[in-house]
Amino acid sequence: MLETFKQIFSSLDPMNPETIKASLQIMWQGLLAIFVVIALIIVVVLFTNFAIKKIEKMKADVEKEVEESDKY
């Protein structure tokens, strides 16, 4: 069957072990890399969100203190 396939699709080289090995390598490295990128982005975004909220809260607290001290 493989021989018939090769005759019809002469430009293709089915079940070439080198190409299959390379594509398996692309598969595991690619999936690992994309999840590493995603994990890092999630961590940095969560940290950035937390830091920005903290800074904004501190600013709000400082402004509130200044307002109260102006009253007195």
């Binding site: 699709f9 190409t19 692309i26 999630i42 975004v45 950035t48």
Partner: protein
């Protein structure tokens, strides 16, 4: 004496006429079926234009379409990359930033790309072509063009036609696959949407953070991710409203108009009409199916560790076809339970897929180049 009048007819071949039929089919699908008309119509017309005998539009060095292809695609993939600026300016990452774990679904929904690369390699395509065929699963036209052209795939035109055609078929392909992978109970899972205010500072930092992290881990993705995030930064900075509006509308439209007709350069009969084109169509479908399966199964896996359950259909929205995949999930959610609104969660997963597919495109280029 009148030979000059029939010169064109004498040089016409059956395969060129077949390409006219394919061009007409793309035009029909674009107009009558509203399938990605912005790309399929120019490609369809271009397919007719480049398959007329003695066509000056494809004359090397001076033809308008050959020149557009040489400058806009071959030289630096300028057209698809510039289009990404417009796409980035259109995207609101708010739903994703409200619930960052949806990003994982965007990554999982790229599974179809890698499994298709493997299958294409097993069928016998050389590695560069197998990788270019796999990227159809990115469900993103500019990414598919960028990867296939960078890797010098001989099947660029088939890959682009298939990628855009299947993007338009997402509302038909995905529901079937989602139903196969989920139970009715799972499809009726409700998800609360906490519309937490995302500060403008976070919205501005996000594209910068994504660019730096993607650039450090997958440098080859910087062209795609960088342009996408640049467009998004123009949108979110708040001081460039007219540039943002231009990027989203006029600029994106101009590039889209030119891109479609330029890609038609690769739709010459001898390049397109090959038995391998049919195999690529089947592999493209395979990629989309496994993208959907990857996203759905990842959501189900996350539910094993999560108190607040994710509706697994959201995983299917991780495919980069924005906003169709999100709309498909919203529609299916409402069909199962008319009180179940999943749109914002689906949009979050959908936009994360946009980033993930661009990163994967760059990864594929880098990994294949290293292995060659």
């Amino acid at each position: 004496m009148l030979d000059f009048l029939i010169e064109g007819f004498k040089q016409l071949t059956i395969s060129q006429v077949a390409m006219w039929a394919i061009g007409a089919l793309l035009i029909y699908l674009a107009i009558k079926k509203d399938m990605e008309p912005a790309l399929l119509l120019p490609m369809g017309f271009g397919a007719i234009l480049v398959n007329l005998p003695l066509s000056p539009v494809i004359k090397e060095g001076s033809g308008i379409i050959s020149s557009l292809f040489a400058v806009g695609i071959e030289a630096s993939e300028a057209m698809p990359l510039l289009l990404f600026i417009g796409i980035g300016a259109m995207i609101d990452f708010g739903p994703l930033l409200t619930n960052p774990k949806l990003f994982i679904l965007g990554g999982a929904a790229q599974f179809g790309i890698f499994i298709t690369v493997l299958l294409a390699a097993m069928i016998g395509f050389p590695l560069t072509d197998a990788a270019s065929i796999g990227i159809i699963g990115a469900a993103d036209g500019p990414t598919a063009i960028h990867v296939a052209n960078t890797l010098n795939s001989q099947y660029l035109s088939a890959i682009v036609v298939v990628a855009y055609s299947y993007m338009a078929l997402v509302p038909i392909v995905q529901p079937l696959v989602i139903k196969m992978c989920t139970t009715k109970k799972e499809r009726t899972i409700h998800m609360k949407y906490a519309s937490g205010e995302i500060s403008q500072a976070t919205r501005i930092m996000f594209p910068i953070i994504v660019t730096i992290i993607s650039g450090l881990i997958a440098p080859e993705s910087l062209s795609l991710v960088g342009m996408l995030m640049f467009g998004n930064l123009i949108r979110e900075c708040g001081v460039l409203k007219s540039l943002s509006d231009t990027a989203q509308t006029v600029f994106a439209n101009i590039i889209t108009l030119l891109l479609g007709i330029t890609i038609a350069f690769q739709m010459q009969a001898d390049k397109f009409l090959r038995i391998e084109t049919v195999i690529i169509m089947l592999l493209g479908l395979f990629a989309f199916v496994f993208d959907t399966i990857g996203g759905v199964m990842c959501a189900k896996f996350m539910n094993l560790f999560s108190k607040e359950k994710i509706n697994p259909m959201i995983g299917a929205a991780g495919i980069s076809a924005f906003p169709m995949a999100a709309r498909v999930v919203q529609k299916m959610g409402l069909k199962e339970d008319s009180s179940n609104h999943l749109l914002m969660h689906a949009v979050g997963a959908n936009v994360s897929g946009q980033i993930a597919s661009a990163v994967v495109g760059g990864l594929i280029i880098g990994l294949v180049t290293k292995l060659m």
